[in-house]
Amino acid sequence: MPENTPTPGAVPEGAADGTPHLQFRDVVKKFGDNTVLDDLNFSVSQGERVTLIGPSGSGKTTILRLVMTLEELTGGYIDISGQPLQYTERGGKRVRVPDKQRRRTTTQIGMVFQHFNLFPNMTVMENIIEAPVHVMGLGRDEAADKAEALLDKVGMAWKKDARPSQLSGGQQQRVAIARALAMDPEILLLDEVTSALDPELVGEVLGVLKDIAAETDISMLIVTHEMQFARDVSHRVMMFDQGSVVEQDSPEKIFTEPEHQRTQDFLRAVL
């Protein structure tokens, strides 16, 4: 179990057989002629929380979107617990994984978005039980009980019958977190989850996430501009620039004595 406040060198061990939970192999992503990620290799261990930092346009969000299959890989492979996510190698050829199989893999992955993306035509409760009922095949009552507990955890049980439009940004994001957790994800992707919030609402969302980090061993891939949050919850921080890793280390090391000039410049600009 990862501790609440990770210390340097406390990065959790990989899965028992040593297979990384999430692995990028030679990943290339281009949008037209624009190469966003160029031959990227990295992995995340079971239960590890990794924060991606770097200037905008450095490809951080693209990494999360690739893991969620919201973007198609241009080259390379992503594996989840050793299983191919988007493409696989067969007979020396790179073969696309069919949608159905992709969906089976992505049920292990949850994502929280910058703009919440709750379904406005559903109540808070309906938002949360939608996937458990229609993807995992849970009964409505069972799903509702579980949703109730999750809403309680994020402090939103009292709004379960409200529509998203009746909630503040912070409340919507807390519901979105509960919605992602309702699928019991093993990997959680947090994509600038506080960037669209009024400053006074950021705290409630980060508080909820810190609790979740403390209470579960979900692996997390985090893109954020909240450096204190990154410092509090992550085991490892990866500094990106122009589609590749500039340096990576424990948050203490990165935030106190970063080695590279580009990391120093970036941190000076944002801190």
Partner: protein, 214 residues
């Protein structure tokens, strides 16, 4: 007797007009039902089906939109009258003609659903069919309700074209009354007023709906 307007003729024409109005109403309701359902099907096919299926559908839609309703009515009646009742043909032609317009409305509605909604559905691993049914269509239809209502009114006002295949809707009844009595002013005026009385409240309703959705 007054030459321009006779209340007696107005009153005498009324029963036949109301009889015709029933046909008008029936054609509008069933035609709208066909257009509302088929329009959605067409919009979804054009968006999701492989080219081999979506291309012919697109071709048919464009063909129907680019030819006049009257021509379609006469043509369909010529070809199909030995198999179906005239009213059935009329209703289907109206319905399919408006299907092509409603499909465009739905297309705009589907496009207006935010990209983030699709992405959230993917993030929850929802199957495609469920995403359409539970998330995209409800939001798209909500956005398109006012436009769909306006097309329903428009169809209502175009039902008199059914005259060309001799369906006794309201305006046809008015003409018949005129042909028998040489009094056209009263029945035609009354028919116009009945149209107004029916479509104006509906347009007010749609305007309220628009405000509510905005």
């Amino acid at each position: 007797m007054s030459d321009i307007w006779s209340w007696e003729h107005a009153a005498a024409a009324l029963p036949a007009l109301l009889e015709g109005f029933k046909v008008t109403l029936l054609a509008t309701l069933l035609g709208t039902l066909i257009a509302v359902v088929l329009g959605l099907v067409v919009a979804i096919v054009r968006r999701t089906a492989p080219r081999i299926l979506s291309l012919p559908v697109t071709g048919a839609v464009e063909f129907i939109r680019m030819t006049p309703l009257v021509v379609q009515l006469v043509f369909a009646n010529l070809v199909l009258s030995q198999f179906f009742e005239t009213l059935t043909i009329g209703i289907w032609v109206l319905g399919i003609h408006y299907t092509t317009y409603m499909a465009e409305v739905y297309r705009a509605g589907i496009d207006s659903v935010a990209k983030g909604q699709w992405e959230a559905a993917t993030a929850l691993s929802l199957p495609r069919a469920r995403t359409w049914r539970a998330i995209v269509i409800p939001q798209a239809v909500r956005n398109t309700l006012p436009a769909l209502g306006n097309y329903a009114i428009s169809m209502f006002k175009e039902t008199p074209f059914l005259i060309v295949i001799f369906i006794s809707e309201m305006v046809n009844q008015a003409q018949n009354y005129g042909a028998n009595t040489y009094r056209y002013t009263e029945p035609i005026t009354m028919a116009g007023l009945i149209f107004l009385a029916a479509s104006y409240p509906m347009s007010l309703l749609i305007r309220r709906l628009e405000k509510k959705l905005a």
